[in-house]
Symmetry: C2
């Protein structure tokens, strides 16, 4: 049985994030990839939708410039023929402040001929924003 | 082929949210269900982890008291034997203010003998918080 494309992508993205080495990642991205991380683009320019291999590589380099990956736990994973979804928890360090950040996210990936053609990532963004700010945001109780 | 448990759960949860009718939902929840929606519990008491059928039904009733479901789009779905994950976009109305709210979330569900035993939901919480507040939160540009 062939290895699922998710695992090759997973190794490549973590290599890109930790060692600034994007050649493996480049080879697994479809030319027409569409890549979205939902979140406040005012705070982090790498959020939002990016299309095409150069734009996505640029996004990944920006993330690598901003954070260092400490560890990750894949809390759930679902694999289809050409699809994958994971629930993940990342422990990161902000490079400029050395601050520890823990973030939970879910990704939905689609592959085409073994290459990543679509990636959508949902992040628990309020928790991330508070940690990046280094202080809690006061919220009224609504329910 | 038997219908996947996700679809029965989906009908039951939407019936519970729209019509305050929880009997179908009650029958599809495992007694030892663990249910987590990651998000700021200061603002919405139905966020966080809840265990056991009565606690989960209470959470769903609280959500139903707070919002009215207008529509939802299932943007991605993955089905395993006893598991399911979806990427969803909900259009809601806040019941107290009549305000429209749009929220994107991902859920990972596990079923045991056709009953929901574990549910974890990741929400794009910053976007939700801003909409619930009715005003943007100023964020510094970090990257």
């Amino acid at each position: 049985m062939t290895e699922h494309s998710l695992w090759r992508f997973s190794r490549a993205i973590h290599l890109a994030l930790n060692d600034n080495s994007t050649s493996d990642l480049e080879s697994i991205l479809d030319d027409n990839i569409e890549w979205t991380i939902y979140g406040p683009i005012d705070m982090f320019g790498f959020f939002g939708t990016h299309r095409g291999k150069p734009a996505v590589l640029d996004v990944v380099r920006k993330i690598a410039d901003t954070i260092r990956l400490v560890r990750f736990d894949r809390e759930a994973v679902m694999l289809g023929d050409d699809t994958a979804a994971s629930l993940m928890r990342y422990s990161l360090t902000a490079k400029d402040s050395d601050q520890s950040i823990s973030v939970r996210l879910a990704h939905f990936a689609q592959f085409k001929a073994g290459r990543l053609s679509n990636m959508r990532v949902i992040v628990d963004t309020f928790d991330l924003v508070e940690q990046a700010l280094g202080r809690p945001i006061h919220l009224p109780k609504i329910a």
